[in-house]
């Protein structure tokens, strides 16, 4: 693991988000190295999804900086981040309901098209070649995620597990460098979860992954590094084994013990490894 921010794919420092009087994130830092899988865990309401929304540009933090491949990342909307190579899935899948599965995935590949606005309006220039390339890429992605047979169905008519694969295909078809997965295992059966773990491990060859997940065995299984959030703060960070052994994590999950009402306040982040968190 490297230690300087410049070698990181994505680093977030001092990210603070307030909703009115509520501080959802309080000075959170996160480092994602190329080709690594970082798990983001914590009890309900810890701020995981909020951090996710900050990383994907949907939410602008009140304070803090995001560095993407060594450059500043602030001031760009979510579509700008997507075009620069960050892709995400949603807890609620958010598939395009009235578009076919194939069109969903082709829409996900949009950033790879090279034609300008003029070619889009007139259909001239690169447009035809773009369309053909996007379509064949989308078909390949559907094939890779084993849902090619459903290409012409509407997402709403498919079982949940298939829809999840479509959502993954839509996120991966644009060859992102960073993939943000929001609870990819929720609602999956045990066997589907094994497949998912296999898929996440295979992503590592071409992209980095940040994962929000409640299923601990999956997180411990696939992640290189884990960041634990509680009440908007990082309470622990490190390899799966280090996090598992950290008493602060146990306390956060099983409730505060008698010695303190706020377990996060007195727990300094463990300086064991800079690869995953500050």
């Amino acid at each position: 693991m490297t230690t300087t921010a410049g070698d990181q794919l994505l680093s977030a420092d001092g990210v603070t988000v307030r909703f009115g009087g509520l501080t959802a994130l309080d000075g959170v830092g996160l480092r994602v190295a190329p080709g690594s899988v970082v798990g983001l865990i914590g009890p309900n309401g810890a701020g995981k999804t909020t951090l996710f929304n900050v990383l994907s540009g949907i939410l602008r933090p009140n304070a803090g900086t995001l560095t993407w491949k060594g450059g500043p990342q602030s001031g760009r909307g979510p579509h700008g981040l997507a075009r620069s190579g960050i892709s995400r899935t949603f807890q609620g899948l958010n598939l395009f309901a009235r578009m076919t599965v194939l069109d969903n995935v082709v829409a996900g590949a949009d950033r790879l098209a090279r034609g300008g606005p003029l070619s889009m309006v007139t259909g001239l220039g690169r447009h035809h070649r773009d369309e053909r390339e996007l379509r064949s890429r989308a078909l390949a992605a559907l094939d890779r995620f084993g849902v090619a047979e459903h290409a012409h169905r509407l997402p709403g008519t498919l079982p949940y597990g298939i829809q999840k694969q479509v959502a993954l295909a839509r996120a991966c078809v644009s060859d992102p460098e960073l993939l943000l997965l929001d609870e990819p295992a929720s609602g999956l059966s045990g066997r589907q979860m094994d497949t998912l773990a296999e898929q996440i491990r295979s992503f590592r060859t071409s992209m980095a992954v940040v994962l929000v997940e409640h299923h601990m065995d999956l997180v411990m299984d696939v992640c290189d590094h884990i960041v634990v959030l509680d009440f908007g703060r990082v309470i622990s960070t490190g390899t799966p084994d280090e996090v598992r052994a950290d008493p602060a994590v146990t306390r956060a999950y099983l409730g505060a013990s008698a010695d303190g009402p706020d377990p996060a306040a007195d727990t300094a982040p463990t300086p064991t490894d800079d690869g995953a968190a500050r």
Binding site: A82, V106, M120, H127, E131
Partner: protein
């Protein structure tokens, strides 16, 4: 009422998943603009035939179907494509119509094609102005904002009485058929052909947009703005683009209307026009360019039939004036009661019942 060739021109934007048999596969391998242009030429030949075998009155009605179709097709792209509801589409027709009339009155030397090009440019600019102002509005708020446009704009004709002619509007005279065609086609026939040529060219562009990357971006924005943004689709500019394209189509349709009717009055661009365009679109079927064709046919011919009916039954003047609206309303309610997806929904159901082999038009 419609020729099969004209239907085919509308078919192209709806991608029909057919088995890649070799002629169909080769057809789909052609670039979209070329494919749509070929269909437009086919449709134009059909319209030419129809116009030449029917009389003057029918030709004028064909022309009316033509420009109404263009206006509704633009609205289709906006409402069905990008999910934005505009109640002010009539205002852009008015901009186009008055633009056309003013050009003919003040720059009589300009050829028709130049006038139409200027009308397109002007309505595009108007579309950019309104579209950027309303891009952050959603659903009912956008409908409300565009509603104000439809209510307010006709008032301008009264406010600038000298320039825009007040409630009497402007009357224009445009050239009829060129000399070498005199005796073969009447002025009405010629106008109908000019309208349909322009409309089919514009539809070629609309169909290409709708079936291509921009159309897919619009549909993605319509279905889920957040997911669209995370797929790299610029949500705001996609919405503005849809609005501008729809306004431009509306403006061009208005210009053609002024050209055919030779008169523009504020009374023909009231809120009722905007509302009936939307209602007709719902009747025809939102989501496919085909729906726009049924909508235009319904809008033009239901009115004609209702008037004919009132005349045949020798009803009073008041009844005759209001019967078309009642007639249209009853048809709309009945169609939506039985086919919630409009006429196009019915057509699609019939096609799918006949089996997938019938769903692909063979060129």
């Amino acid at each position: 009422m419609t020729s099969p060739t004209r239907e085919r021109a509308e078919r192209a934007p709806v991608p029909t998943p057919t088995a890649p048999t070799s002629p169909a596969g080769r057809w789909r391998a052609l670039p979209a603009p070329l494919r749509h242009l070929l269909l437009a030429v086919l449709a134009l030949t059909g319209v030419c035939g129809l116009v030449l075998v029917t009389g003057d009155l029918a030709a004028l009605r064909f022309a009316a179907v033509g420009y109404t179709l263009l206006a509704i097709a633009g609205l289709q792209l906006l409402v069905g494509g990008s999910g934005q509801i505009s109640l002010g589409h009539g205002a852009f027709l008015m901009i186009g119509a008055y633009g056309m009339a003013l050009l003919v009155l003040h720059q009589p030397m300009l050829p028709l094609a130049a006038n139409l090009a200027i009308v397109v440019a002007v309505s595009a600019v108007a579309g950019v102005a309104v579209g950027t102002a309303t891009a952050r509005l959603h659903g009912p708020y956008l409908a409300g904002a565009t509603l104000i446009l439809a209510v307010g704009l006709p008032g301008l004709a009264h406010r600038y009485h000298e320039f825009l002619g007040g409630s009497n509007g402007l009357n224009i005279r445009t050239a009829g058929a060129p000399p070498f065609l005199q005796g073969i086609v009447s002025t009405s026939d010629w106008r109908a052909l000019v309208v349909w040529t322009t409309v089919l060219l514009a539809l070629t562009v609309l169909a290409t947009i709708s079936s291509g990357r921009l159309g897919r971006r619009m549909r993605a924005v319509r279905d889920d703005e957040t997911a669209a943004a995370m797929s790299g689709v610029p949500v705001g500019s996609t919405k503005v683009a849809a609005f501008v394209i729809a306004s431009t189509a509306g403006g061009l349709a208005g210009g053609l209307q002024a050209y055919v009717l030779g008169t523009v009055t504020p009374g023909s661009f009231t809120l009722a026009l905007s509302l009936s365009l939307i209602a007709a679109l719902v009747l025809g079927g939102i989501g496919s360019m085909w729906g726009a064709l049924w909508a235009a046919l319904a809008l033009v011919y239901l009115e004609v039939w209702a008037s004919d009916l009132a005349g045949a039954l020798d009803l009073g003047r008041d009844v005759e004036n209001n019967l078309p609206v009642v007639f249209f309303g009853v048809v709309l309610i009945l169609v939506l009661r039985f086919w919630p997806l409009g006429i196009q929904g019915l057509v699609q159901r019939l096609i799918s019942r006949r089996g997938s082999s019938a769903s692909a038009p063979t060129p």
